[in-house]
Amino acid sequence: MSTTLPDLSYAPAPESTAPVTLRESYGLFVGGEWVASANATTFATHNPATEERLADVAYASEADVDRAVRAARRGYEKYWRKLRPSERAKYVYRIARALTERSREFAILESMDGGKPIREARDFDVPQAAAHFFYHAGWADKLAWAVPGAERVRPLGVVGAIVPWNFPLLIAAWKIAPALACGNTVVLKPAETTPLSALLLAQVCAEADLPPGVLNVITGDGRTGAALVDHADLDKLTFTGSTEVGKHIRRATAGTRKRLSLELGGKSAFILYEDAPLDQAIEGIVSAIYFNQGHVCCAGSRLLVQESIAEEVVRRLRARLATLRHGDPLDKNTDIGAVNSRAQRDKIVELVQSGIDEGAQLVQAQWTPPERGYWYPASFFTGVAPTHRIAREEIFGPVLSVMTFRTPSEAIERANNLPYGLSAGVWTSSGALALYSAQHLSAGVIWCNTFNQFDPSSPFGGYKESGFGREGGLAGLRAYLQI
């Protein structure tokens, strides 16, 4: 029998960047028009996998923020609040359709600007973003039914939305879709390192003939965000990002009329009981911590595994690390892409060093990264003590802390023993144990025998310092309504 068959190895399978047309520079999208920033300053956005400059974008100063909020107010008073809800629905639906039709372009752009694998942008970010617009389009003319007992519901007015760099388009959609469907207008501030998909979304909205000022996009850095937070004429602020900035925003908006939704950091627990389906649990761990290079606020970054199976789980996880495909985010077979920025890479390196210094054992995928770009290999720590920094601080990278427990109550106590409470995973074959665990975990989302599953109809948000307010579902809708 033939034994001379060559070994298989995947050849590069890069997604073509042809569907994306980058402009040399982008202005701010204010009042339905592309405008330069007041003082004409710009900054560059880069591809984190190659460090190449992709485009220049306008830097919005305080004056530009003011201009955008005024435009949003005008858009609200002049057009959007006067529009019949069924007409609003058509616009939101039109945006959903455009996202679907141009999904490939959005996915490639998202991967280029942020470093995430094209497979994830294609199969998760863009379809989910479109799904949020589709879902909320349906609500626009049925809002009275969304709030049982309310005599009438009204929009809030102008919403300021600040989104992070890990899911730039998707989290923008989480905020824009319900805001518009409920009759509010929006000023969106994308993250400094990933402005391009928001700007493409603005272009799509312009092509959809969205009335001027209904969606405004201002690009910039933390100072731009701060100017938006401080603007007096906002009715609501919605922020997704770090707990540190969230606390600042809460202080800054205290005593103002601004309503606030915060979706902040996490250090979510993944509880693996000894009767769990092991092979799927390993895939669950991979999804929990290595999805999007671990740049996920609800990442399952603490694995709590029952002591009786800990050795077997670590053995399997180690073997699985070796099969994760690191590399070019635009390659269709890549599992782990580039870290979003140099600053984030440095933060991961610093926290991993602290883990080593504090005595935990590091296991890392063996992979030599390219010379250019920002990378970090899939990693996990064993021998982690609950006092270690890597057991308590959000790393926001592909680094898992493995700890053991003996009984369900100990697992739950350990899981809850942090100021965070965004998500949790429970892995067991026992329905009773799953329900018991879910009942006692302080987390906004609890997944059983799966992880990172999302749907626009399912509310997402945190307990404790992971924030408040929900996004998605009825709870998410109410956050954009005057009830």
């Binding site: 068959l5 070994d7 050849a11 399978a13 092979d279 074959s429």
Partner: protein, 302 residues
């Protein structure tokens, strides 16, 4: 440890717990891998070299089987032979006569294929007859009636009995996964067959609606991987039923490649049982070489 005792010990160690959501999600990622250029050419060559060219119909004749064997020996100009030809026991002698002295094996289904519902004595007799007529490989079906009524011991005992009748002959154990009702049951059947001494696990007879799916293939790969880890014995995987296009075959190659590794991507460890798949693989292969997809008239069928 005797095979059956080992089967019991293994299933006790590793209870058959499988969750559908993550299994299917991982299988779907693997089945959608993008194989380009050299990777595609290599994978297509693997598919041809690991193919069990199959005809299992009541209307099979010596002429049909001879033609199939000729195609197995030389699928197309410049393409080397497939792994085996798979036929019913009555036609083993015909296939053996054509394939004698070649690298192509003669595989025969046996044990009251496809239902498996005959007395063990009949199954043993059929197996011995097929081997006597020249079969190098036996594709047996498990007794799903026993399995689904919870008589796992009976399933294991029967595999062990057939195993003993297959001295020097490769034994593939068909689980008929689509009839077992759940992924957990399929995993249990895998562990029983692995412990009872199967040389290959095989997905399906190809005679039912659901035969091979990416999730079933992944689940069986995981069972084989775990068995190899525990015992050091490397059992093969045979996928059969409903695999008609190169694209789906390459998806399965990716599943095996990323779960079991290159060590399994050769005829001793991996087979795809198919009748019409070869046509599309040869056309895809020609397309990789010439840049053009030729179409059915340009591939010699059997």
């Amino acid at each position: 440890m005797p095979g059956y005792a080992r089967a019991r010990a293994e299933t006790k160690d590793m209870p058959s717990r499988v969750d559908a959501v993550m299994l299917e999600s991982r299988a779907s990622v693997l089945a959608k891998r993008s194989l380009k250029a050299d990777a595609k050419r290599t994978a297509l060559d693997i598919v041809v070299a690991c193919m069990d060219l199959t005809t299992l119909e009541g209307k099979d004749t010596p002429g049909k089987v001879s033609g199939l064997c000729a195609r197995a020996l030389s699928p197309a100009p410049g393409v080397s032979n497939v792994a085996a030809v798979c036929v019913y026991p009555s036609l083993v002698a015909v296939a053996a006569a054509v394939l004698r002295g070649s690298a192509v094996k003669v595989a025969s289904v046996a044990t009251a294929f496809p239902s498996g519902l005959s007395p063990l004595e009949v199954k043993l007799r059929e197996t011995r007859d097929a081997i006597a007529a020249g079969a190098d490989e036996i594709d047996m079906v498990i007794d799903r009636s026993a399995f689904l009524s919870g008589r796992y011991d009976a399933v294991a005992h029967e595999i062990i009995a057939i195993r003993e009748a297959c001295l020097g002959v490769t034994l593939k154990v068909i689980l008929e996964a689509g009839e077992l009702g759940s992924y957990a049951a399929i995993r249990r059947a895998c562990d029983i067959a692995l412990g009872a001494g199967a040389d290959f696990l095989k997905t399906s007879t190809g005679k039912i609606g659901v035969s091979s799916t990416p999730a079933i293939a992944l689940l069986m790969c995981e069972a084989i991987r775990d068995h190899a880890h525990r015992t050091g014995r490397e059992v093969g995987l045979k996928l059969a039923g409903g695999i008609r296009t190169s694209k789906s075959a390459l998806g399965y190659v990716s599943i095996v490649y990323e779960t079991l590794g290159n060590g399994w991507l050769r005829p001793e460890r991996f087979r795809i049982g198919a009748s019409s798949l070869l046509d599309d693989v040869l056309m895809q292969r020609a397309k990789e070489a010439s840049g053009n997809y030729s179409g059915a008239p340009y591939v010699a069928v059997a």
